[in-house]
């Protein structure tokens, strides 16, 4: 199958407008006859549900949390980008587009990225109108700060809670539609299968997480906004319930999975303290605006940070990348931290950490200014580590944070299954091989508020959908499939807990499919994952029963999917004989140790088709064309 991204023709600045001018529309009177299923209530899902409700569609919104307000978008701290150019520092749609394509190391689709940049300003307008309390200047205008990988200040923020505030805006809009009767919400439901009738996505099967009941829902289209898959690494900055299951089950029903090996390891996280740890906590990248990153020059220097004199410190990012300094993109900062720790210059008890030091900024700006800017982050750090970052430098280390890969979608955000749309982090489309800071919130909201209302209408108006109901055999088959899976998990009654096996998978993934990958390591990972999968299906112990709230059962189902996804990630990384963004293959690097792309052979999206149980996925390619941003070796020096 040739993969067609369906990017409209014409100059890049006009593609989206011309697309909007030529699509099919659904009349206002007809919209209410169409039911749209939306899974996930993060920024993408909640904004889509609210907006489609406003347009008059009949919306059903599902989430695994006890309330739509708690989706993991809330955890985003630093900010959201928009090319408003309020700072008069040379920003524009073009520059945001360019930075994003370059930051993604030339592995994203130009048409999608330009649209994202064009819509970024509308998002800020919308959120301000909703009452999102963005930071402001004394004159009353909106404040900005800068983020990694760019040379302008285009990031809007609400203290360290930007994600939370944007999501509360979208959640409020969703609840308003609920009040108006346009949207129904179904919290504590986990999507476990997709129902396809006549080749189109027409419904979902979910488990009611309170009663354990398997429920069926039909609709005219299914929108997946279920986030990324970082917890495949076990320890990540994601919430403990974040998972890939809905996306993975769609993959098994025919949706191609694109670039699964493109994952982001975020440079500024609090290092792991012990085996018991359940998650890693991110410190916002905005800290790199004022914090300076360093390690001792000497290997094995065990002195306390404040005892190491200035001339014996190595501010390695400033040294290696003088133009961007501490604000290089995330993939570069993470790899550099790994490198200095591998050299034996890491700090802290484990030697897997580097310093993020605010002493200079405090001297320059005063403690009060630093407290105003980052106070809540400093408090959070002190609470977790027991150390005061105003006095001693923070210790940080990279951790899995975001996944650029996801289900393949075209320009319409439609997957390879007609009627199945994928939004936000769950799709693969806009960030290429590396996402720039403050761009995830932008993409989630662009997809939900401003893209899907058009592309979904275009699909519905052109699809000629017949009526279906949940008595259809396809629903029965999906329910059987889900019930069998659940019974199987409960029947094994082995000796290992779900968490033990998940930790094993995580160790393999971070070691071999993490910040640095090699052919040998990836081959080893594939074998190890197979062995862990075998162990899971023969020796896991899932306690309790299916007919009640059972979190062990939920976790077991998610781990079963992570085990399959982990293997595909390793195979995708093995297939890609180049380094690009977050995907760093040791065999492919420049003499200075930077990522070395192979544009001639790998300038494509790798989209994997599921071929059945125990059979390897088949690779399909979407060739990427760079008409506007010339592919070049990324340089932040």
């Amino acid at each position: 199958m040739t993969l067609d991204g369906k990017v409209p023709g014409g100059p890049i600045e006009q593609k989206w407008d011309s697309y909007k001018g030529h699509i099919n529309l659904v009349s206002p009177a007809n919209k209410r006859k169409h039911t749209i299923i939306i899974v996930g209530t993060g920024l993408a899902g909640a904004s889509a549900a609210a907006t489609l409700g406003e347009l008059g569609y009949n919306v059903k919104s599902y989430c695994i949390q006890d309330s739509p307000r708690r989706a993991h978008s809330i955890a985003a701290q630093g900010g959201i980008n928009a090319s408003k150019d309020y700072q008069n520092d040379g920003d524009s749609d073009w520059r945001l587009f360019y930075d994003t394509v370059k930051g993604g190391d030339f592995r994203s689709r130009e048409g999608n990225v330009y649209r994202l940049a064009q819509l970024s300003g509308n998002i800020i307008d919308q959120c301000v109108a909703q009452g999102v309390p963005f930071a402001r200047e004394y004159g009353g205008g909106l404040a900005n700060r800068s983020f990694g990988g760019v040379l302008v200040s285009r990031t809007f923020y609400a203290r360290g809670q930007t994600g939370q505030q944007l999501l509360l805006g979208a959640y409020g809009a969703l609840m308003r539609q609920l009040n108006l009767g346009r949207v129904k919400i179904f919290p504590r439901r986990e999507m476990l299968d997709l129902v396809i009738i006549d080749g189109r996505a027409r419904g979902i099967v979910v488990r009611n997480l309170i009663t354990g009941e398997i429920e069926k829902y039909e609709g005219d289209a299914v929108l997946l906004a279920t986030g990324g898959y970082s917890p495949v690494y076990y320890l990540s900055t994601n919430a403990v319930n974040s998972n890939a299951s809905a996306a993975w089950r769609c993959h098994k029903r025919g949706a191609y999975f694109a670039n699964p090996s493109f994952t982001q390891i975020h440079p500024t996280c609090i290092p792991q303290s012990g085996e018991h740890q359940s998650k890693l906590v991110l410190m916002s990248e905005s800290l790199r605006n004022d914090g300076r990153i360093w390690v001792p020059k000497e290997v094995g220097d065990k002195r306390a940070a404040n005892d190491i004199p200035e001339n014996e410190r190595d501010y390695y990012l400033e040294r290696m990348y003088p133009a961007y300094g501490n604000l290089v993109p995330r993939d570069i900062a993470s790899r550099a931290a790994k490198r200095v720790c591998d050299e034996g210059r890491g700090v802290g008890a484990t030697g897997r950490a580097v310093y993020l030091d605010f002493a200079d900024a405090i001297k320059r700006l005063g403690e009060q200014v630093i407290r105003e800017k980052y106070g809540n982050l400093f408090d959070m750090y002190e609470n977790i580590t027991g150390e005061n970052p105003y006095r001693v430098p923070m210790r940080i280390y990279p951790a899995p944070h975001y996944t650029m890969g996801g289900l393949w979608v075209d320009y319409n955000l439609m997957s390879t299954i007609p009627g199945l749309f994928v939004l936000g982090e769950a799709n693969f489309s806009d960030h290429g091989a590396n996402r720039l800071g403050a761009s995830a919130l932008m993409q989630g909201l662009a997809d939900g508020y401003f893209v899907i209302p058009f592309t979904l209408g275009h699909y519905i108006a052109g699809a000629k959908l017949s009526a279906v109901n949940t008595d259809n055999d396809a629903f029965k088959e999906a329910v059987d499939n889900v019930q069998k899976g659940t019974q199987k998990l409960l029947s094994i009654k082995g000796s290992k807990t779900v968490r033990e096996i998940h930790r094993k998978l995580g160790n393999i993934m971070i070691q071999y499919v993490g910040m640095s990958r090699s052919e040998e390591g990836l081959k080893k990972a594939i074998e190890e994952i197979k062995r862990i999968k075998e162990e899971f299906w023969t020796d896991v112990n899932v306690p309790g029963s299916a007919d009640t709230l059972n979190k062990s059962l939920e976790m077991a189902g998610r781990l079963a999917d992570f085990l399959e996804l982990g293997e595909l990630m390793a195979r995708d990384a093995l297939n890609r004989n180049e380094s690009a963004g977050g995907h760093f293959r040791e065999e492919y690097q420049t003499p200075e140790g930077e990522a070395l792309r192979d544009d001639k052979n790998y300038s494509y999206v790798a989209a994997w088709e599921y071929k059945g149980k125990e059979k390897p996925q088949e690779l399909h390619k979407e060739e990427l064309e760079f008409e506007y941003v010339k592919e070049s070796q990324r340089s932040y020096k």
Binding site: R69, H72, Y138, Q164, A173, L178, P543, L549
Partner: protein
């Protein structure tokens, strides 16, 4: 590095909404002080699973104090005795070797127990649905910088908006009042000019729903502000009261 400790737990176990619950004792040895309390419960649950017992069900998600999912009453105090944190941010270094720790769900009539430590807080969603937003459809917003908002106002609105909807305020209140939760949302939108057109209907609709859900009245104990993980002030309650009174006049 401080040495590992032993703690004696008394944890609320309840099979379902209609069953009788009780406190069950557990001992956890070898607790690393760097663990969070929830990680200690994870370890306990793994031990229970291996022993063939049912693990303790509790809600938690982000584990960094922002999603509002977790919420336990720890030795009588919602989110524990440390100020300004959610349950998931409470580390075991705040306990001593040999401590007895009681762990219960948030208790309030509008928050029924689902199972063990898991509760149903959907009453909060129903209150928000009545007016916890500004009615603006997607696409109809003016240019963002057209509405100048003084920095102090934006900061006050942000102080109120920081609410994570965990429900600790209700659990701590002797009357199970939700005034701090509702007051915070009302404050955010009455401070910001964007919220002014709907301020009267908003406060009446949200307060009406709050009463309908069975939350109690505020009698100024200020326990809510003492346990709030985001340290939201009861000034927001005063602001809501003024808003409500003003809404009664034409």
């Amino acid at each position: 590095m401080s040495k590992n400790i032993t703690v004696y737990l008394k944890i609320w176990r309840q099979e379902g909404p209609d069953s009788r619950g009780k406190l069950v004792p557990y001992t956890v040895d070898n607790v690393d002080p760097d663990m969070s309390l929830l990680e200690m419960l994870d370890v306990l649950n793994e031990d229970l699973t291996k022993k063939g017992e049912l693990p303790i069900e509790f809600d938690s998600d982000c584990r960094e104090g922002i999603c509002g999912t977790c919420g336990l009453v720890i030795s009588g105090i919602p989110h524990g005795k440390k100020k300004g944190i959610a349950t998931c941010q409470l580390h075991m270094r705040n306990f001593k070797d040999g401590d007895v720790i009681t762990i219960e769900p948030f208790r309030a009539k509008p928050f029924p127990v689902v199972k063990d430590l898991v509760i149903d807080r959907s009453a909060f969603d129903r209150i928000i649905a009545k007016g916890g937003y500004i009615s603006v459809n997607t696409g109809s917003a003016p240019e963002a910088n057209l509405i100048p908002i003084p920095k102090e106002t934006a900061e006050l609105a942000m102080d109120a908006a920081a609410c994570i909807g965990c429900g600790a305020c209700v659990a701590a209140c002797p009357n199970a009042a939700a005034y701090l939760f509702v007051g915070a949302k009302i404050s955010q939108y009455c401070l910001l000019p964007q919220g002014h057109p709907e301020r009267k209907i908003r406060v009446r609709a949200m307060v009406g729903q709050m009463d309908a859900e069975g939350f109690g009245d505020c009698s100024n104990h200020a326990e809510c502000q003492a346990v709030c993980p985001k340290e939201i002030s009861i000034v927001n309650i005063a602001r809501m009261r003024r808003e409500y009174l003003k809404s009664l006049w034409p």
